[in-house]
């Protein structure tokens, strides 16, 4: 009996050790059970070390590097390298007064960071382009691992050196502090892109978590879980992915619903994860900037970019659009700068032509909106300045424009884009709508809930947040338990079978 029990325990220990090892297929994400256990263990010592700042910093760095190792294996060294390189470059940059030397140092930093990004993320894309230009087999594809979150930490690191170059920031004295900033696990793999000047002042501040921070953190984690692990995961697996995989198997109504579904899915996935990151950071005593602000409430494309992935759009504005000349070099240059910024912003999202096209669409739309504002006398830049009627028209128009962008963003090829549009415009088939909704009731209900919650006024969001903040700890724990129970039900629920509608 004892021996059996011991063998059972040893089996569980083996499994647990296996779970802790690097597995590219099983990255450590906030909505996983493993993270909950690791986070509990982490918090115990984090709390105990709260008065010893240096030890706490080293402790968080070690946990963050492990967090990164779990997803990217040995490439956690890349993170260490990026931190070391920019730490030393920034020191040298700060000490140098000669303008050309300062430019040299900042150029070196940009070259190192973009070199890393280019090598790991874009090598095969460039090879593919070369092969298309010069014929198949012109260059051989390389087997290059893409380290998780490289696009995020490279941009974070660039914000540090560029701000020092601009004399908006003084460099950190300790390498560990810089590594702490760059590797801080809540924002490490999927943002938000936290600027050095926002984060650095918080590193050595006495650790303090107020009731409000705690409540807001819990609220954001709960909403993030709901968005990411319930809405996004369910509708993508059970509807959206299959429509995009084979659009011709679906009517135009289903294809359109698939695009609306994807618009919600990408928002819930991305903003949900951001919410969780911001919430976790709050629980650890750190403030991150807001990353999403109900983007589908935007009544113009310009407003959309003030609400969507704010940390990226402001980064692109400050470190790309403005250095390109922004709107200071005449109207034509402004439009070109906008287009270039959005093209590169598109490319940042992924190494494929479709992301560039997506960026181009947004760039052109932003430029056209600028023209519109210039030539139409009563045109408004944001929905808040419009009358209700125009605002609704603007929201609907902007949403569909953004959806067209998402179609390009998600479709594997331009052929899929044209097939989806063909189905929508030539085989819409309204008649199947009731059957489709009935057949995919769970999907459509979640989509409805997602959009309704999204469109609720900000006051409703604040009220819900206040309720969570004001709840006693026991209630907060039970809320979290119910949410996780729902997530687990969704995760283990039956897959929605294909439903065949009579055409």
């Amino acid at each position: 009996m004892y021996r059996m029990m011991m063998s059972h325990v040893s089996e569980i220990v083996d499994k647990a050790l296996g779970l802790l090892a690097y597995d590219a297929q099983q990255p450590l994400i906030f909505s996983s059970g493993l993270f909950l256990f690791l986070f509990a263990g982490f918090l115990l010592f984090y709390t105990l070390l709260r008065r010893d700042t240096s030890a706490r910093i080293v402790y968080v760095i070690l946990f963050s590097l492990y967090f990164y190792y779990k997803s990217s294996g040995i490439y956690f060294l890349l993170l260490v390298f990026a931190a070391t390189s920019d730490y030393w470059i920034s020191q040298a940059l700060y000490r140098t007064q000669r303008p050309w030397a300062r430019r040299l140092w900042v150029t070196l930093s940009v070259a190192v960071n973009l070199g890393m990004l280019g090598y790991f993320k874009y090598t095969n894309f460039l090879i593919e382009l070369s092969n298309q230009l010069f014929g198949a087999g012109f260059l051989q594809f390389q087997n290059i691992f893409l380290p998780v979150g490289i696009s995020f930490f490279v941009f974070q690191s660039l914000s540090y050196t560029i701000d020092i170059y601009r004399r908006q920031l003084t460099p950190l004295d300790r390498w560990t502090d810089y590594l702490f900033y760059l590797s801080f696990f809540p924002q490490l793999v999927a943002g938000p892109i936290v600027r050095a000047k926002d984060f650095i002042p918080q590193i050595r501040r006495p650790l303090h978590v107020s009731r409000r921070m705690f409540g807001t953190g819990v609220f954001l984690i709960l909403t993030g879980l709901f968005k990411k692990a319930i809405i996004s995961d369910y509708i993508s697996l059970n509807f959206v992915d299959r429509v995009f995989d084979e659009p011709l198997l679906y009517s135009g109504f289903e294809c359109l619903a698939g695009i609306y579904g994807y618009a919600l899915q990408i928002y819930c996935d991305f903003s949900g994860y951001s919410d969780m990151a911001i919430g976790i950071a709050l629980l650890l005593g750190f403030h991150f900037p807001k990353n999403f602000d109900s983007p589908y409430k935007a009544a113009t494309i310009t407003e959309f970019w003030h609400r969507w992935h704010i940390s990226l759009s402001t980064w692109l504005r400050d470190y790309l659009y403005i250095p390109l000349g922004g709107n200071r070099k005449g109207r034509v240059r402004t439009y070109i700068n906008l287009l270039l910024t959005m093209l590169l912003g598109g490319l940042w999202h992924g190494a494929a032509v479709r992301f560039v096209l997506w960026g181009a669409l947004h760039g052109v739309a932003l430029a056209l909106h600028k023209l519109w504002l210039r030539f139409v006398p009563h045109a408004k830049a944001t929905g808040a300045q419009m009358s209700w009627g125009w605002r609704i028209v603007g929201i609907l128009f902007t949403f569909h424009l953004v959806c067209l962008g998402w179609l390009m963003f998600r479709a594997e090829s331009m052929q899929t884009v044209s097939l989806m549009l063909h189905q929508i415009f030539h085989n819409f088939n309204w008649a199947v709508a009731p059957q489709v909704i009935e057949g995919y009731l769970g999907v459509f209900l979640l989509m409805g809930v997602g959009y309704v919650l999204h469109l609720l006024p900000e006051s409703a969001d604040r009220m819900a947040q206040r309720i969570v903040e004001a709840s006693p700890l026991v209630v907060q724990v039970l809320m979290a338990a119910v949410m996780i129970w729902c997530v687990m039900q969704i995760k283990s629920s039956d897959i929605q079978p294909f439903i065949y509608f009579q055409f």
Binding site: K15, L19, Y46, V474, A481
Partner: protein, 540 residues
Amino acid sequence: MKEKKEEKEYIHRTWLAVTALIVVLCGVSLIPPQTIGGITFRRANILSDLIEFDDRTATDAPAATQIALDEEEFHVDLDRVAQQVARQTAAIETPDTLTPPVQTCFEWRIGPTDTLPAHYTPRQPAEVIEPLQPIEDFDTTGYGPLHAFYGKLLDGRPVRIAVLGDSFIEGDILTADLRETLQEAYGGTGCGFAPVASPLTGFRRTVKTTSKGWTSYNIMQYKTTPEPLRHDFYVSGWVCRPEAGAQTRWEGTQARRHLDPCDGARILFLSRGRSRAEVSVNDSLHRSFTIEGADELRQIEISGLPIHSLTFRVAEGAEGMVGYGALLGRSGIAVDNYSVRSNNGQAMFRTNPALNAQANAMLGYDLVILQYGLNIMQQGIHNYTNYGAQIGKMIAYVRECFPTAAVLVLGVSDRSVRTDRGFEPMDAVPHMTACQRAAARREQAAFWDTSAAMAALGGMEQFVTNGWAGKDYTHINFAGGRQVALALANALNDGMRREARDRDDRLRRQERARNVADSLREAVRLQLLQPAVDPLTMEE
């Protein structure tokens, strides 16, 4: 007071809250699956990566529970089918001499010579690759139709295969690659059957179909199909009613090899009243056919030049016409995809046996593959005996309508379900496979284990990971269909190789028997030629 509360340190609470949450969730993990108000809630096991609970008994139906089948849907009177087919066969073989014969075939031979060879060149079986999932032939006679099928392949004669299935093969999934692989090895062109019109023509990549003026009806909508058309389905599962001037254009594609051009084509239709149809080949050659009214299935057969595109237009008499489709390709291997989504095989019982027999008389099927069962399976249900009986009826039905064809039952494909530990193979798959295998054995048909072939390639989860299957973990896509088709073609090659070996053995045995007979004859002859000997005196 409020300010004081705001100042309070909550960092300890974070750890406390997370620890309390883990304790609550561990407690919740002990709650077994529950069904409340008809909704089943799974066990929410936060420790699922470490500790597994056996929840099968709590959620699954008892092993004895059979899958629920709509008996009416599967009803068929096989004796009546046999009578209908016999009447049809008799009418074809011994036409009524009092009434003029109905012209069922309208030939259009373009060019000076027939494209079919005068003599067939024997073929060698293609190489068999490991791992092999062989076809299990339960024929006990040793000379059943599957041997005849392999024999025709070895002789180099044209071979026609019909694949009857559900959404698993919809849009030519699997069959496109089975066809290409077999045509590559044994010759042949064209994509086989392509319907006149269907909402799914856009999904099919192996032929580009543009049609207008047709209303199509699917056999799964049998009950809502207008009365005169209900009896006009053959195993293709679609009927199309034209309006005046309705037309369809089929064009070869480069989606697979040997599709464009094809070396001949047929167009299948009914014309109950006098009608006129116009056919165009390659958009440059045109011909008009006047068809007298009759109940028989008609075909326009085009041969003599490579066909890139074919257009069929109903110029007159649309009211009496029913369109089926074109069969592209004439020589070598032809594979017809007859898929009807949501069909578990029962739809074939709603087809017209006489039309099936007429189609077989025109097309001459050598092998009918039955791919069904995917929609019947349910997680937790292990007893499919009643469905097995239906498979037996399907085999019998196919044999009545297509007497020359061998029947190959494809076992159900692999399928995964979601549990708290992630995706796992559906527990019903081996039971459904066993039931299908048993049905094939009872009926002495052939069987191929699709799920085993997929398991050898990593199983459904791997298929999804590789991008070979949809996210429903049930349906393969074109890439997955290619993998399964290669495995099935490999199995057919193996069968052919065995047949070739048996044929050699038979020839050797016949040769030996002939030699022995010759020797005996020689011995007898020599004996007879020798002078007679007096047995008493031993003297001549």
